[in-house]
Structures are given as C-alpha cells and as structure tokens.
C-alpha cells in the first residue's frame, strides 16, 4: 500500500489549497446555520407548553413530516429547533460532500490535471486517499463546529454533540458515496448525477418511512438521512445509531478503493465502444441537445417518480390528524381540502427549487463548454455568439419548464388517484406551471453571470441555496421582509392559483427576460476566456 499511496500528503495539501475558501465557507456556513436556527428558536418557544404545541402541529402535518421528519420529544427545545436541519440540513451536507469528493477525483481526471501530476512520484491511490482524508477532516470539523454552535446558542451539550456527529457522519457517508460514483462514471458530470440520484432516493425513502404509522418504518432505516433522524438528537440520544453511518462509510470507501484498483486512469468501469464514423449533427442546437438530452432524460425520470410518490402522499394527510384539536384547527382555516392544498403547495415549491437546480446546471453548460475549450471551435465557424449561447440556454429554460410540467402531471395523477378526486389534476398542473417563471429567474442569473463574470456562474448555486434557506428559515430568523423578498421562488403563486397570481407570473417572466437580455449583452462584448 505504501507505493500506491505515495504523495498523498502533497495531494492533500493541494486539495486544501484549492478548497481553502470554498470548503471552509461551506463548513462554517452550515454550522452557523444550525447555531442561528437554535438561537432563534430559543427565543421563539420560551415555555415547554409553547414547544409542545409547535411540535404537535408539525407532527400532525403530513407535508412537514414528509419534508423534515417527526419530532420525537415534543418537550425538547433542541428537537423543535433542529427539525428542519435534521433531514434537509443533512441532505445539503451530503450534497456538498458528494461534490467535494467528485471534484478531487473524477473531475481532476477529466481535466487531465491528474495525469499531469501522475508523472511525478504519485501512487495510483493517492488522489483517492487524499480525498478520503479531506472528507474525513471536513466532516470532523463540521461535527465539532456544529456542536459548539448549538451549545453556544443555548441547547444542551449532549444533544448538540449528537446533532453535530449526526451531520458529520452524514457528511462522511455521502462523501464516500461520491468517491464510489467517481469510479463508476466516466465523467464528473455523470458521477454527480449518479450521486445526487442516490441521495434523492435516500431522502424519499425516509419521507415514506416517516409517514408510516406508528413511527418510522423500515424504509427510514435504509437511509443515511433516516439514521440521522433516528439518532434522535435532543430527544433521548441513541448513540449506537452512529455505528450505521460509520460502517456504511467504511464499506463505501472500501468499495471505492476496490473499483479504483481495477480501472485505468481516466477510464470508467464501462468499456468504450466505437461510435459512428460519420455524424448527423449539423447545427449548434443539435450539438447542445446531443450533449444535454441524456441529462434531461435522467432528471425527467427522477421528477416523474418523485411526483408520483409525493402526489400519492396527499391521501395520508388526514390520517395524521389524530388530535381532535388540530383537526378542528385545520377545519377552521378551510377544511381538509385547504390542508391538502397546503401540503401539495409545499411540495410543488420544493420541486420548483429542484427544477431551478436543473436550470442552473443546464445553463452552466455554457461556461463549462467555454472553459473546456469546446466553444472556440464552434465560434470559429459561421455560428454567431448569440446563437451558440441560445443553443444551451434554451435547453435550460425549456428543460426546466418541461420538468415542472412533468412534476405537475405526476403529482396531479398521484394525488388524484390517492384522493379519488380527478378534479385535482388540472389545478395541480396549473400550480406547477405557475412556478416556471420563478425557476426561469433563477436560471437567468447564470446567463447574467456568464455574460459579465463568467468565473462566477457556479456562485448561482450558492444563491439558490440562499433562496431555499431564506424560504425555510427566514421567518424563524426574523429576517426583514425585503431580504426574504429577494428570493424569486418566494414570489411564485401557490396552490390554488387564482387570477391574482397572473401579475406575479407576468412580472417574474419579464424579470427573467430582462436578466437574460443583460447576460446576452455582456456575452456579446466580452472576450472568450479559458
């Protein structure tokens, strides 16, 4: 092993140098998010009575349970304040670590940089080992900082330690998963897609598991995010649960090493077969479609499956209303149909954020094509800049719109079938379509960055994360209204969409067009950069 790991130290230093800002800000930012949420809740629920009331409302709503899970000890301040961060936070932690792991393994191979340094005294497994160490270090730092932040915010230490370790071990599992998908896939892009798909599946598994009565079903135990919930920080910690993510990480890391040992640098596990000697591609639009269609197909399948699952959960909404008091409360605000609307509306909003993620990744293809040197040969032909940019950008816009249509249809079908009420289908589709302009506004920010500051296109991911976090925690943190209004996703009309929603739709569409036009204007006047 000594040979194959030679140079691990140097690789680790290189990784730390490259990630010193990015990874540090993610780790500190995540820990701070937990700390701020804890501090805010301490003020929000000063008495045990107020906490129990809040916890029962959360546990009674299927939408909330599906998205965030249950509160296992309604009297616990920590459990109430960390409810959103236990599942959703763990998923964000997982995505970050997944991307970091792939960034230092497969993405480096794709770029050819790894080949450059492989000529030096570098063992075959050194890049993987240094990445594992990086992930382990970042996970440990996240666990420690989160524990400290929550303790400082006034939550009990034992619970904070469990919560911190829960996040840390989640980081480890999904980082290790990234190490595995990096070996299987042939490009960083497909490795990320594979990893995200698995993460989404584990999230949905626990959502279905958590909705089962009583308590979590076996499905929740199949998910690392479910483990984090069943660790039950602040609700009588079950420390033994930590064994599961540690064990899973060890297995995944072992798998990554085995796979890496069996393949060549730069290759995936699947063999390359010869392709056509002549091509039918004749336009830049055709090229963009060829490069992006498989990715869109993958997203479509995921959206359709999620839509069906989320939609069919609508029927379990009323089953959760066990307490007569909450039932009465919801009936007072508009009855069961209103409750189902709130549930479906919340799901459609989440789906819209995910569609925006697709829009960002598809539009960011412009930047990656430019940076990879693929734009130059095309722009050297009789193709104008605007036309080339449109080829990818239109796929981002039309693709995200198509995904929302698909989500609307599948959620609608799922909900209508579950509720036995097919009048739901049309209004759910309309509600999903009404989110498209907001999704476009987020997507257009990539075009704006591409036109004026091409190195910042990936920063739009951070903006999307900020929009989601503001939407989830803004009220809790008492953010001023204008800060929360900065998120385009907040302005999209929710179910049921009435005529008053039309203004929002028109305004958002105009904003998206204006931002896109500004992006094009910048792109037309700037130099191509590497």
């Amino acid at each position: 092993m000594a040979d194959t790991n030679a140079g691990t130290g140097a690789m680790l230093r290189l990784a730390l140098r490259r990630d010193r800002v990015l990874l540090t800000s993610w780790v500190v930012g995540l820990a701070a998010t937990a700390g701020f949420s804890a501090a805010a809740t301490v003020d929000l629920y000063p008495t045990e009575e107020s906490r129990v009331q809040a916890a029962e409302t959360i546990n009674a709503s299927a939408a909330v349970v599906a998205l965030y899970g249950r509160i296992y000890d309604p009297t616990s301040l920590g459990a109430v304040s960390m409810i959103k961060l236990t599942a959703l936070g763990a998923a964000i932690v997982g995505i970050v670590m997944l991307f970091v792991a792939i960034r230092h393994t497969r993405a480096e191979e794709d770029s050819g940089r790894l080949e450059l340094i492989s000529g030096g005294r570098l063992g075959r497994l050194a890049p993987l080992t240094s990445t594992v160490l990086l992930i382990a270090g970042a996970s440990a730092a996240l666990a420690i900082l989160t524990t400290l932040a929550n303790t400082a915010a006034g939550l009990p230490f034992a619970g904070s330690l469990a919560f911190g370790l829960g996040w840390g071990t989640c980081a480890l599992v999904y980082g290790a998963l990234g190490g595995v998908t990096a070996q299987i896939a042939t490009t960083a892009r497909s490795a990320r897609g594979m990893g995200l798909t698995i993460l989404a599946i584990t999230y949905v598994l626990r959502a279905i598991g958590d909705l089962a009565e009583p308590g979590p079903s076996a499905l929740s135990w199949l998910s690392p995010i479910g483990w984090n919930q069943q660790l039950r920080a602040y609700s009588g910690e079950r420390w033994w649960v930590l064994v599961l993510p540690l064990l899973a990480s060890a297995v995944l890391v072992g798998l990554a090493y085995t796979l890496r040992s069996r393949r060549d640098l730069g290759a995936g596990l699947r063999d390359e077969r010869p392709g056509p000697a002549t091509g039918r591609l004749a336009t830049v639009g055709g090229l963009a479609w060829r490069l992006q269609s498989r990715v869109l197909l993958g997203w479509s399948v995921a959206f359709a499956l999620f839509g069906l699952i989320l939609g069919s959960l609508a029927s379990s909404v009323d089953k959760l209303l066990t307490s007569p008091a909450t039932k009465q409360f919801f009936e007072a605000i508009g009855g069961m149909s209103r409750l189902v609307d709130v549930f479906l509306g919340a799901e459609i909003a989440i789906i819209a954020a995910i569609a925006a993620a697709y829009g960002i990744s598809a539009a960011d293809r412009l930047r990656s094509e430019e940076a990879d040197g693929h734009a130059e040969p095309v722009l050297a032909t009789a193709t104008t800049r605007a036309r080339w940019a449109s080829s990818h950008y239109l796929i981002a816009l039309a693709g995200s719109a198509f995904l929302m249509l698909l989500a609307g249809l599948t959620i609608g079908v799922g909900a209508s079938a579950a509720l036995g009420d097919w009048s739901q289908l049309g209004r759910i589709v309309v509600a999903a379509l009404a989110q498209i302009p907001a999704v476009w506004v987020v997507t257009s920010l990539v075009m704006l960055a591409f036109g004026w500051a091409p190195r910042l296109t990936t920063a739009v991911w951070g903006l999307l994360a900020a929009f989601v976090i503001v939407g989830e925690f803004g009220a809790l943190w008492h953010l001023p209204g204008w800060v929360m209004d900065l998120s385009p996703l907040r302005h999209a009309p929710t179910l049921p969409v009435g005529t008053d929603g039309i203004t929002a739709i028109v305004v958002l569409t105009v904003v998206a067009l204006a931002i896109s036009a500004a992006g094009y204007a910048g792109w037309r006047r700037r130099d191509l950069t590497g």
Partner: protein, 302 residues
Amino acid sequence: MAAVIEISGLTKRYGVTTALDGLDLVVEQGEVHGFLGPNGAGKTTTLRVLLGTVRADAGRVRVLGLDPWSDVPELHARLAYVPGDVSLWPSLTGGEVIDLLSRLQGGHDTARRAELLERFDLDPTKKSRSYSKGNRQKVALVAALATDAELYLLDEPTSGLDPLMEQTFRECVSELRAQGRTVLLSSHILSEAEALSDRISIIRAGKVVETGRLADMRHLQRLTISAETEHELHGIDDVPGLHDVAYDGTHLHCTVSAEHLGELLTHLTAAGVRTLESHPPTLEQLFLEHYGNNGSEVRADG
C-alpha cells in the same frame, strides 16, 4: 496582390499585462505566411482577435475586407481555423466532430474528408475521450482542411503530430498554396515555417519585429563559413564584417555578412582553399538574433 489580413497598431491588454503591443501584420492573398514566435509572444492572442473571440483594445484589423469582431458569420463562412490546443467533446466520435464542424462552416466535401482521413491515418469511429493529443489535432486538421475556405488560420497545427504526419500536413499546406488559398501558420517550429512559408513574420513581446521573404531576410544576415586552406591564412582580421571567428592556422570557422563574402573568398583563394562549407542562416539563427540570452534585441550590423 490584395491583402487578406491587415493589422495595424493592434493592442490587447489583460489587466496589467500587455499581450499585444501595437502589432502590425499584413498577409497577402495566396501566400503561406509563417507567424513565428516563442510561447507567450502573442501568436494565439493575435489569431483570436482575427477570429473575433477576443476583442482588440486598439488598432485596426481587417480580414478578407471584413471586421472580425462584428462581421462574424460572413467572415467565418470564408475561413477555417485549427486551434493550438484542441479540446473535443468526449462523448462524440472524431467523425461526428469533423462532420459537425464542417457543416457549421457551411461547406462539406465527403470525398475530400475521406481522403484526408486516409492521409492522416485517423480512425473516425473512436470517441474523442480516447484520442491522444496527436489524434485530437488530426480531427481539427481534417475538419479545417476538408472545408472549402479562402483563408486558413492554423495555430501551431503540428503540435503532437509524429514526423510522418507532419510531412502529410506539409503536403496539404502546399496543395492549399497551389490552389491559391491563403494560410496564416503560427508556429514555434522554425523548420516547419521555413519549409512552408512564402513570407514570415517574427513576433516578440506582442510586436512584429521582422517581416518579409526568408530570402530577403537572409540577405541581411550572416552566412556561416567553414574552410580549410593549404597555406596559412594572413590578414584575415582585416576582412570587414567577420564575426565569431575561430582561426587555427589553416582552419577557419566564422560568420560573414553577405556583402563581405567576396572579400573573404579572395583571401581564402589566395591561401589555396581546400574545403569550403557555407550555410545560409537557419531560422534558428534569425530567431536567436531577436531572442538573445539576455532577451534584448540584437540587430545584424551588416
């Protein structure tokens, strides 16, 4: 002859670094013009300005009578380009890339494409990710050469090619010249530019420092002479224009400017010349004149 490329006073800055510093360049119709300079001299930046992918800060640039920044579709339909660093879409085969690029260009000659694939010995069914650097270069060359263009912009086109393929490339360029097409060939491989170019321009630190026919340039430069004489040479120090003299009784090695060659020969003949070798200056020597070890420009004093 009409000028196909006219550049005057071209300036391009990237922040504080000046990539092009008042560059002048004229490429006449139907010539193969060698554009010579070491890495970082500004060759690629110049070509990018000619393509309109980079915008000039100052100066006048006309290509085929058009403005390369604003007349992109009209101009690009008439030129073909081979980038210095060829990067291809990993999931497309070489054949697909060639067909795509030539179709986007407007022209597509199937027979010519097949012939070029054959001559460059390129397997078009392979996915681009499995191509070596040389094969990627061939894909770009075939795509460009299969195009019916008036102007060919080639940025270090033979990097990564083996000597056999370099020969094929040279033949292709000669054919282009025979057909009256214009080629701007950027290179740091001097022998390549020497073998192919009608005229050359030498670029240094963002400026063209020397331009003209190789023959004309040679005229300004010194010849390298090696001679052996029967008798000892006398008065060799009186011959004007001699440099780098290594003199050992009957053996002489020196350089001489062309107009003083006659005087040197008179001396050699008088001493009973036995062997005489004379080399015209190679481009390496021309180059070194402009890139001395201290980096300062040295002019021939001849």
